[in-house]
Each structure stands twice: as structure tokens, then as C-alpha cells.
């Protein structure tokens, strides 16, 4: 789809009317620009030269009315366009934000935050600019050019034809320039996005930068990107300046033709001096739109570049979304079943032939070496990714037949990489359930062993914690994340290495609390420590994406495999008699 029709299709009916009215105003008022010079010439002829003050006030009155009418309607026009463009902008912002919110995880794996930010701020702003400014700027230019030409045509069609000769040349230059400058605008847009992404990551990773004393290196990198952005700008300017003389010569050609060819026509007796005066006094009305053309092309190219970036998101369908005809589930029991599930990430197989069943209320623990695919199981269960083969069932219903929102609403996940929002502690805990009372928030904070330290913060539950939970220790962040998951009162509680940064006393406390939750739920625990997993009804050992052992704590110790080794390592037991 082309950017302009797309933008028009995103415009509400009300705004479409606004835009049409505004462009009508623009049409009328750009013609009116020629009225006052005409009245002035009458004033000069009838009042000043004729030395007759009588019509003076009348003409001045008309001029004033015309002017007041013109400027006030133009003010109205601008407000109408601003209103339309703001409404459009607002709707696009919301719509794009919504698109982003529902994109699949793979999309976010591939796109940098800084680039997405550029699309939703700078790029979107060019769409706004197009609606609010370019429409009437183009109409103004065209109308002024055309009405002047028509006026000229009736004055002297011969001279007008001489002037029109310039137009095809102008169109040709415009076309060549548009083609040449387009890739330059795209390049500039990329440099902007790179600079944006670089700066964004520098800010997000400022701790790492400081820890490695890489400030100078970061500055160098940033200056390089910022310099590339500057050069991209200058390239466009260079390109424009190589076309500028031609456009400017053509604009001046209007006056040259009217004066000199016109002069020649007078000599030949084809036109009168009076007719020529009309031409010479109004050549600006032809030349100015031509001069504007360059700016309009630049703006339009920039708009197109940006609009394409915006449209990429606007039209992107997430790979994972509700299947047509998927069932409504009011509630969830919490029965989970994996049937021969395999998963790939890029070309890499991360899970192979995984099968297991967890009954409602039971606890499943998953353990295994780093990168063995533990978190991938969670990612599949929450449908962050879809398996490459095999099926996953929740309550005997394939999760692809669940509504995504309903499926996830019944799951409470404390992720490994804790991301907290810049909000109050209370707001963070009640993240998935806005309607919670304070008492409930406190209750779940208590279960997650967070209440004590939160109460100790300067403003308790009203303390605003920084993005990503900066300012809190790793263990504190994990506890808030756990409270947040519990606050969902989920049917399936997933704890992905949630207690790794906690001391053992706190961990033990949480384990005890989890046994007496006020709601029943199936639990999935991923952990590295024996202490975190040993009480589970079923423990899976995952190695290289395959289940190599399964059973209870006692059974696995019997097995003398990975689990037993880990147990021995953590317990400082001698490793003899292992069958590994």
C-alpha cells in the first residue's frame, strides 16, 4: 500500500471532513491572495491618480474585510488540520502501540528497542507533519500557480504559452531529484535509528559501561554514529544544492520570459504595456510555488521513508495469535501435558521430543545444565513461541485453541530476568491485576518474603522503583517479581530460577509459604539448587534439550545420574560410585 492512501484510510470520518474543509479553505484563500493586489491597483487608479477620496473608505473597507476573512479562515484551516492530524497521530500512536504489545517474542528478539522507538516517535511525527502541513502547502502552491496561469492566459495567451514551456522542464527535474534523493533519505533514517538504538543501549547498560570504564569508547562510538547522521544530512543537502540552480533558474526564467519576450511582443505590437505590467507584477505568484517545490519534495520523501517504517509495524501480523474458532475458557484446572514436543530457535534445535504430564495442584521441577532448554519449556507453555512439532495441552485442550489472553491470565510467571516497571512497589505487584486491594498486595508480598524489606523502604509500598528495578538488590527484585506472579492468583504458577539470588533462609521461608497458598495451583519450578526442587512431585532433568531423568527426589538419588551428582556437589559429598 502506498503511504498516502494508507494514511487516508487511517483517518476518521470526522477528520476526513476536517481535512476536506481545510483544503477547500486553502483553495479559496490562495486565490484570494490575488484579490488585494487587484484592489490596490484600483485604489491607485481611482483614488490617488484621480485625486478622488470618495471611493477610498469603500475600497479600504473591502480590502480589510477580505484580509480579515482570509487570515481568520486560514487560522481556522490550520486549527482544523492540526485537529485532524492530532487525532490521526493519536489513533496511530495507540494502534501501533497495540500492534507492538501483541507482537510475538521473535519480533522483539530481532528488533532493537531504539529502532522501535524511532518508529513510534520520529517516524510517526512525519506522518503527523504530512497531514497538518503538506496537504495545504501543496494545494496552496498548485492553486496559486494554476490561477495565476489562467489569469495570464486570459490576458495574453501567447505570452502565457511561452511561460508554460518551463513547466515540463520543471516536472522532469522534480522527477529526477525525487528519485535521487529518496535513497539518501532512507540512509539518513537508518543513521538516526542506529544513533537512537546506540544511545538507548548505552543508557540501559550504563552500569556495564562504568564497570569497564568504557566511557571514552562509548563516546567515540556515539560520536561516530552522530557523525554519520550529520553526514547523511549533509549528503541530502548536497544533492538538493546540485538541483537548486536549475529550479531557481527556471523560477527566474518566468520573469526573464515575461520581461524580455513580453518586451519583444510589445515592440512587435502583440500586447500592450498594460498587459505586460500584469505579467511582471505577478510573476512571483508563479515563481514562489516553484521555489517551494524543492522543500515539498524533501518533506514528501522524508514522509514516505518514515511512513514505510511505520507501515511495517502497522500491517505486521504476529506469528502467534488466536486461531479462528478458538474456544472460550472461563477457568483453568491446571492440567498440563506436553506430547512429543520439539522446538527450534533459528536453526538450532533447543528441545527434542519432550513429553510429560502435570496434574492440577502438583509441582513439577525442572533442572539441568545451563542452556539445556529449561526456560524454553516455559516459553512454549506460555506460547511465547510455538513448538516446531508436537502439541501442548492445558486442561485437555491444545493451547493453540486457547485464547492467548485467557491462557496467560491463568498463569503467574516469575521470570528469570526480572523486569520491573518504573512504578510504585504496589503498582508493580498489582501489575497483572489492577483491581487488587492493598491488603492483598501486602499479603502476597508477605508470601514472597518481600513485605519486610518493602516496609523498610523510605515510602514503603509507595516507593517508586526504577526501571528494571534499579536500586534494588537482585534478591529484592526477585521477591517483588514473585509477589507479582502470585498476585495473579494463577492456576499455573511458574517460577523460573526465582530464588537464585536469595539466601537459603529466605528461600526456605518462601517454600513453606507456597505450601499454604490461599488458592490451589499447579507449580512449575526451575532451579539450580537441590533445595529449590527437592519437594516436587516430579523432577525432570533436561540435558541438551532432552529429558534424561525423571522422578521424585528419592528416585533420582537412586538413579545416580545428573541429579545425584549435583546433590553431591552441593552437599560436599565425595563423588564415588557415580555411574557417569
Amino acid at each position: 500500500m502506498q503511504p498516502v492512501p494508507w494514511l487516508w484510510s487511517c483517518t476518521s470520518k470526522k477528520s476526513k471532513i476536517r481535512i476536506i474543509v481545510a483544503l477547500l479553505i486553502s483553495t479559496i484563500t490562495s486565490i484570494m491572495l490575488l484579490v488585494n493586489p487587484f484592489l490596490t491597483s484600483r485604489l491607485i487608479d481611482e483614488v490617488i491618480i484621480a485625486k478622488n477620496p470618495e471611493p477610498l473608505l469603500g475600497i479600504l473597507g473591502i480590502m480589510l474585510v477580505v484580509k480579515v476573512f482570509r487570515e481568520c479562515t486560514r487560522y481556522l484551516m490550520i486549527i482544523l488540520l492540526e485537529k485532524a492530524s492530532q487525532e490521526n497521530h493519536l489513533n496511530l500512536r495507540i494502534k501501533l502501540f497495540e500492534c507492538l504489545q501483541y507482537q510475538d517474542t521473535r519480533f522483539f528478539d530481532r528488533n532493537r528497542t531504539g529502532d522501535l522507538m524511532t518508529r513510534l516517535s520520529g517516524d510517526l511525527d512525519w506522518c503527523r507533519h504530512f497531514v497538518s502541513y503538506m496537504g495545504y502547502a501543496i494545494v496552496d502552491c498548485v492553486m496559486m500557480f494554476v490561477t495565476t496561469l489562467i489569469f495570464f492566459f486570459f490576458t495574453s495567451w501567447k505570452l502565457t504559452l511561452c511561460l508554460i514551456v518551463v513547466t515540463p522542464l520543471l516536472l522532469l527535474i522534480t522527477k529526477i531529484y525525487s528519485g535521487k534523493v529518496r535513497p539518501l533519505f532512507m540512509a539518513m533514517r537508518e543513521r538516526l535509528s542506529e544513533m537512537n538504538a546506540g544511545a538507548q543501549e548505552n543508557i540501559a547498560g550504563n552500569r556495564v559501561v562504568k564497570a569497564f570504564a568504557r566511557e571514552e569508547y562509548e563516546e567515540e562510538q556515539f560520536d561516530k554514529r552522530s557523525g554519520a547522521f550529520r553526514d547523511a544530512h549533509l549528503n541530502i543537502n548536497k544533492m538538493w544544492l546540485s538541483f537548486y540552480p536549475f529550479i531557481e533558474i527556471l523560477a527566474h526564467a518566468m520573469s526573464i520570459i515575461s520581461v524580455f519576450i513580453g518586451g519583444y511582443f510589445i515592440i512587435k505590437g502583440d500586447i500592450t504595456p498594460g498587459q505586460l505590467t500584469i505579467f511582471t507584477s505577478l510573476t512571483w505568484a508563479l515563481a514562489n510555488p516553484m521555489r517551494q517545490l524543492g522543500n515539498l519534495i524533501n518533506d514528501f520523501q522524508r514522509f514516505q521513508t518514515s511512513a514505510n517504517k511505520v507501515m511495517e509495524i502497522y500491517f505486521r501480523k504476529p506469528a502467534i495469535m488466536d486461531r479462528p474458532g478458538c474456544k472460550d475458557h472461563e477457568d483453568m484446572e491446571g492440567l498440563i501435558e506436553f506430547r512429543n514436543v520439539s522446538a527450534k530457535f533459528d536453526r538450532n534445535e533447543v528441545l527434542t521430543d519432550i513429553s510429560f504430564t502435570v496434574r492440577p495442584g502438583q509441582t513439577l521441577a525442572i533442572m539441568g545444565p545451563t542452556g539445556c532448554g529449561k526456560t524454553s519449556i516455559i516459553n512454549l507453555l506460555t506460547r511465547s513461541y510455538d513448538p516446531s512439532s508436537g502439541d501442548i495441552y492445558v486442561d485437555d485442550c491444545n493451547i493453540k485453541d486457547w485464547k492467548l489472553q485467557q491462557l496467560r491470565r491463568h498463569m503467574g510467571i516469575a521470570t528469570q530476568d526480572v523486569f520491573l516497571f518504573s512504578d510504585t512497589v504496589e503498582g508493580n505487584i498489582a501489575f497483572g491485576n489492577q483491581d487488587m486491594t492493598f491488603d492483598q498486595v501486602k499479603q502476597y508480598a508477605k508470601i514472597a518474603a518481600a513485605d519486610e524489606f518493602v516496609t523498610g523502604l523510605s515510602e514503603g509500598y509507595d516507593t517508586i522503583i526504577g526501571e528494571r528495578g534499579t536500586g534494588l538488590s537482585g534478591g529484592q527484585k526477585q521477591r517483588i517479581a514473585l509477589a507479582r506472579a502470585l498476585a495473579m492468583e494463577p492456576r499455573i504458577l511458574i517460577m523460573d530460577d526465582t530464588t537464585s539470588a536469595l539466601d537459603s533462609e529466605t528461600e526456605h521461608y518462601i517454600q513453606e509459604e507456597l505450601k499454604k497458598l490461599p488458592f490451589t495451583c499447579t507449580k512449575i519450578i526451575i532451579g539450580q539448587r537441590i533445595s529449590a526442587v527437592k519437594d516436587a512431585d516430579q523432577i525432570l532433568i533436561l540435558e541438551n534439550g532432552k529429558i534424561t531423568e525423571r522422578g521424585t527426589h528419592a528416585q533420582l538419588l537412586e538413579n545416580r545420574g545428573y541429579y545425584w551428582q549435583t546433590y553431591a556437589l552441593q552437599n560436599d559429598l565425595p563423588m564415588d560410585g557415580g555411574d557417569d
Partner: protein, 598 residues
């Protein structure tokens, strides 16, 4: 510490100051010669183009009446006309090239300084506001001010010259009528002065709302996985809608006000023109002024009010952009808590011996985290810090890296050349490059795995990178990836598990070849077997280096030379594992509890 949230406006502390303009001129002043050249070229270009109407009138008045005989003359004038046009084009083209460079260079300079300052700002600055609000200043605001600081200034000067020249011409034609023309000016100025504070406030408001929007946007993208898992998209969308609505409201308000500036100037022009004709014609009745004078004056009204309107427009965009400029300078003025002392020396090669003498510290006013903290670490010693979450283990490390300044006491570093240096009196760069710090969160930059590890030491060869990965047991999984070390990662994930990311971050730290190694929960996401292999792998690297290790899994730190139990603002217990177990104190309790739990 009062933190800022995405939906809280950042109030601007300082009122509008002239010093902001002065600072802006500091950036412009670097290009004064180019600016002057551009100004001269502009004047030349307008002189050349002003000459063309004169040619037109000569041709029409003198050449055309000559009839057929005038045709050769006509051609000659046409040639002169063309030359003038070309001259004007060339001058304008050069000016435009110069000014494009100047305006881009000004943005570049401001951005460079702003970014450099951001690099020096302490953690607390980043911790206390959403990242999006910082970003929008570096990128969007700087873009916004460029034009006003370059072409805006030139046009300002040109228009002022224009106004002065026209006033001069006007008075030379007729002083009384000139006064009529000028009469509109005080009214216009009054209107502008009336609108100015409202306009400034409106644009400030607009930049605030925009900043909020950007902050929420950045955070939502970073935290999108959490939002999706908690099925919170609808709530997020409604928050976004609220922020976008606030943006629109602020924008429309600013637009209503700003546009009334040109509206009033246009209307005033017309009123002045009417007054001119009326007074002119009335006087003309008494034969005071000739009709030629009125004609000329009518022309001057336009020529006078056009630059005045332009000036109002320049002023207008100046007011809009000053709101951004203020934010930029405000960020540049943000105090650097931790900075090189004026007489800071470069720290010579350290030998790893560290003394904490009577250290006093708290993150906030009135809060004490460490008090009377004394610790003497020998070169090559392996120190473990244990204790309850939030007791101050990370604080000890933060102070050693000088991420914060001490409130009392001192930290001394011993060097290979036998000298001793106070931590606060050496340059930060020379200090931190000698420390290897592995932080709790393993942030990776967008780029290849190779690049990310090399961040630890920029001049490391590929082989050295691979050697470091091998030492921390990361090599195996990296080489199994389809693209190996060239696999692209980003800050959010890209297919790596948390443990794998931690291993990469670990390799990055090991590569930096530090004298003192600091590991803050460096292996929390790594499985026990890999952890053991890793410990054996780095054994050789650790030899001869002082290390500080924070870990919750006590089995990982048992072999340390000295274990410190941090609690109650200081060291509660200290000694080797065996000594502390013997003592049957708090470490003993902690250790036995952990063993029992298994």
C-alpha cells in the same frame, strides 16, 4: 531519593535565563567565521536579486519604447539579468552549503557534550528516571534546536538589517507617514509580550507530555515480555492512550497560542495600511503629500511588516525550542557526584592490596549502610562476602569501584611501585580499568557474542576472546550455535538463556585482565556442574589476583581465604570457612541451614 515515573512531569527548576542563550552562543561562536561569511553572502545575494527589478523597469521604460531598434539592447539587458540571477544563485548556494554544515555541526557538538556528560553521571541519575526521558533529550530535543541555532540566527540578523534599512528609506521619503506605519509596532510588541509567557508554558508542557510518552514507550518495549505474560496489554494500551491524549491536549494548546502571533501580525499590517491610505489621502487633500509618496509608502508598509512578521516567526520558533534547550542544558548541569578530583593522578599498576579505613557510607541522607568499616586485604587474597540480602555486601564493592563517594574514612590502594593511593584521588578511568567487575545483571549490548566479550578489552585478539570463553566454560555452547561467536545477541535475549548470558558476561570480565576481580553473584543462574568446571577453569586466572566474591550458595565460596559475614553496618564475623564453622556463629548457622535444606 525521589524517583521519576513515566507519568510524572519533570518540573523545570530554573526560570528562563539569559545564560541559556549565552551558552547557546558558545556553540554558535565556534562557527562565527562561517556565520559571517554566510551573512555576507546572503546580503550579496539579495543585492544581486534586488538589482533585477531595476533592470525590469529600465527595459520597460526605456528600451521597449525604442521599438525595433531596441531589440539588440533588449538582448543585452537579458544577458545582464541572467548574470545577476546566476550570481544570486551561486551566493545562495554557497551560503546554504555553509549553513547546512554549521547547523549539523552545532547539533553534533551539543549532542557530543550532552552524551559525554551523561557518561559521567552517577548511577543515581539513571536510577531515578525512566531511560526514555534521557534518550529523548539526546536525540529528539537536540534535533529540534538545530535550525533555530543556525539559520534562525542568520535570518534574525538579516531581518533586523532589513527592518533598519527600510525604516531609513521610509523616513527619507516621508517622516509623518512613517510614524503612522510604525504606530502598529507597539501594539504588536504588546501582543507578543502578552502571549510569550503563555506560549512558553504551553511548549514546556508539550515537551513534558512528549517526554512522558517516550518514557512509557521505551519501558513498554523493554518490558513487553512481562506485559504479555501477565496479559496486561489492554491496561497498557489504556495508559498509553492517556499519555497520548495528554500530548494532544498540550500540543493543541500550544498551537492555538502560537498561531495567533502571525494572525495578529497579518491583521495589523492591513490596519496599518488602511490608516496610511486614509491619512495620506486626507493630507493629500491639503496638498501635503504627493501621490508618488503614498504609492511608495504603501509599498514600504509591506516591506516593513514582512520582516517584522518574519521576526515574529523566528521569535516564535525560538520560544518553542527554548523549552528543549532548557532541558538540554538542565541535563548538562546535572551534578557529577563522582568525578575525578581536580588534582587526580593516574593510578599506577596496583598490586591488589586494599585497605578500608573507618569507612562510613549511606546511599541517602540519614541512612547508614556501613559504619566504622575496616578491612585490610592482601595482594592475591580471595575474599568472600556473605550475609542477609540487603545487608551491604554489594555496597562494599560499589565503594571499592568508586561508584559512590564515601561519606567518611578512606580506601587505600597499594601499587606495584610501593606507593599508596587514596581511591578518591586517582582518575576513575585508571582505577576502573584495573578492576574486573562482574555485576549482578548481565547486560549485553546488541552485537555479536565476539563483540560483547571483547568489550572487556577492546584490543583483545579473537584467540584471547576464545581463551577467556574457554576458561568460563562458555566456549562449548557458543561454538555449538549456528553462527558461533558471530551470533547476534541483543539486550533482551535473542535465543540465549539467562545462564548463557551470564557466562558471556563472565568471559567479558575475565578478558579485562584485572588486578582485582569482583564477582557479585556471578554464577547465580549457572548450574552447579558448570559452576564447578568454571571455578576450576578460572583457578589459574585467579592466581596472584585479589578477588571479592559475593555468593549465596556457600559451597561456592568455601575455599576462599577469608569469609566476611556482613551485617549490622559492618563485618560481624571474619575468618576462613573452618575458623568460622569452629566459631559456631552466624556463618555456622547460615551454612548448616543451607546444608539442611538440601
Amino acid at each position: 531519593m525521589a524517583r521519576n515515573k513515566f507519568d510524572v512531569d519533570e518540573t523545570l527548576e530554573s526560570p528562563f535565563q539569559l545564560s541559556h542563550l549565552k551558552r547557546a552562543f558558545h556553540y554558535i561562536g565556534r562557527h562565527k567565521f562561517q556565520m559571517i561569511a554566510a551573512l555576507v553572502l546572503s546580503i550579496l545575494a539579495s543585492v544581486a536579486s534586488l538589482y533585477t527589478p531595476k533592470i525590469t523597469s529600465t527595459v520597460l521604460d526605456e528600451v521597449v519604447p525604442m521599438g525595433e531598434a531596441g531589440i539588440p539592447l533588449l538582448l543585452r539587458w537579458a544577458l545582464i539579468f541572467l548574470v545577476m540571477v546566476i550570481l544570486s544563485i551561486v551566493f545562495t548556494q554557497i551560503r546554504s552549503r555553509i549553513m547546512a554544515f554549521v547547523s549539523q555541526q552545532i547539533i553534533f557538538d551539543i549532542r557530543k557534550d550532552l552524551f559525554a556528560h551523561l557518561q559521567k553521571l552517577p548511577f543515581s541519575y539513571y536510577d531515578s528516571r525512566p531511560a526514555g526521558k534521557i534518550l529523548v533529550r539526546v536525540i529528539n530535543y537536540v534535533n529540534s534546536v538545530s535550525d533555530i541555532l543556525s539559520n534562525g540566527i542568520i535570518n534574525l540578523i538579516l531581518e533586523v538589517i532589513n527592518v533598519v534599512v527600510i525604516i531609513f528609506f521610509m523616513f527619507s521619503v516621508n517622516a509623518k507617514l512613517s510614524l503612522v506605519v510604525l504606530a502598529g509596532l507597539p501594539v504588536f510588541i504588546a501582543i507578543i509580550l502578552f502571549l510569550k509567557p503563555r506560549q512558553r508554558k504551553a511548549w514546556q508542557q508539550q515537551s513534558n507530555k512528549n517526554s512522558n510518552y517516550n518514557a512509557y514507550l521505551a519501558e513498554s518495549i523493554d518490558g513487553v515480555r512481562v506485559s504479555q505474560l501477565f496479559a496486561r496489554q489492554e491496561v497498557n494500551c489504556s495508559i498509553m492512550k492517556r499519555l497520548a491524549l495528554a500530548c494532544r491536549k498540550a500540543w493543541m494548546r500550544a498551537i492555538y497560542i502560537s498561531n495567533s502571533v502571525w494572525l495578529s501580525s497579518q491583521l495589523l499590517t492591513q490596519i496599518v495600511l488602511s490608516m496610511l491610505y486614509i491619512t495620506g489621502v486626507l493630507w493629500m487633500g491639503g496638498e501635503i503629500v504627493s501621490f508618488g509618496v503614498i504609492l511608495a509608502m504603501g509599498d514600504y508598509v509591506h516591506r516593513f511588516w514582512q520582516p517584522i512578521t518574519n521576526l515574529a516567526n523566528i521569535y516564535n520558533s525560538f520560544v518553542n525550542n527554548i523549552a528543549y534547550l532548557e532541558r538540554i542544558f538542565e541535563t548538562m548541569d546535572e551534578p557529577i557526584d563522582v568525578d575525578d578530583a581536580p588534582d587526580a593522578k593516574v593510578l599506577p599498576a596496583i598490586d591488589g592490596k586494599v585497605d578500608f579505613n573507618d569507612v562510613l557510607f549511606g546511599y541517602e541522607e540519614g541512612q547508614t549502610v556501613l559504619e566504622g568499616f575496616n578491612l585490610h586485604v592482601n595482594s592475591g587474597e580471595r575474599i568472600a562476602l556473605v550475609g542477609p540480602t540487603g545487608a551491604g555486601k554489594s555496597t562494599v564493592i560499589n565503594l571499592l569501584c568508586r561508584f559512590y563517594n564515601l561519606r567518611g574514612g578512606e580506601i587505600l590502594l597499594h601499587c606495584e611501585d610501593g606507593s599508596t593511593h587514596d581511591l578518591s584521588k586517582v582518575t576513575l578511568h585508571s582505577l576502573r580499568t584495573q578492576l574486573g567487575i562482574m555485576l549482578q545483571d548481565s547486560f549485553l549490548f546488541a552485537g555479536t557474542i565476539m563483540d560483547n566479550i571483547r568489550y572487556g578489552r577492546l584490543d583483545a585478539t579473537d584467540d584471547e576472546v576464545i581463551a577467556a570463553s574457554k576458561a568460563v566454560c562458555a566456549h562449548d555452547f557458543i561454538s555449538q550455535l549456528p553462527d558461533g561467536y558471530q551470533t547476534k545477541v541483543n539486550e533482551r535475549g535473542g535465543g540465549l538463556s539467562q545462564g548463557q548470558r551470564q557466562l558471556i558476561a563472565f568471559a567479558r570480565t575475565m578478558l579485562s585482565d584485572p588486578k582485582i576481580l569482583i564477582l557479585d553473584e556471578a554464577t547465580s543462574s549457572i548450574d552447579t556442574r558448570t559452576e564447578r568446571l568454571l571455578q576450576q577453569g578460572i583457578e589459574n586466572i585467579l592466581k596472584g589476583r585479589t578477588s571479592f566474591i559475593i555468593a549465596h550458595r556457600l559451597s561456592t565460596i568455601k575455599s576462599c581465604d577469608r569469609i566476611l559475614y556482613i551485617s549490622d553496618r559492618g563485618i560481624a564475623e571474619s575468618g576462613s570457612h573452618d575458623e568460622l564453622m569452629e566459631k559456631k556463629g552466624r556463618y555456622y548457622d547460615l551454612y548448616t541451614a543451607q546444608m539442611q535444606a538440601i
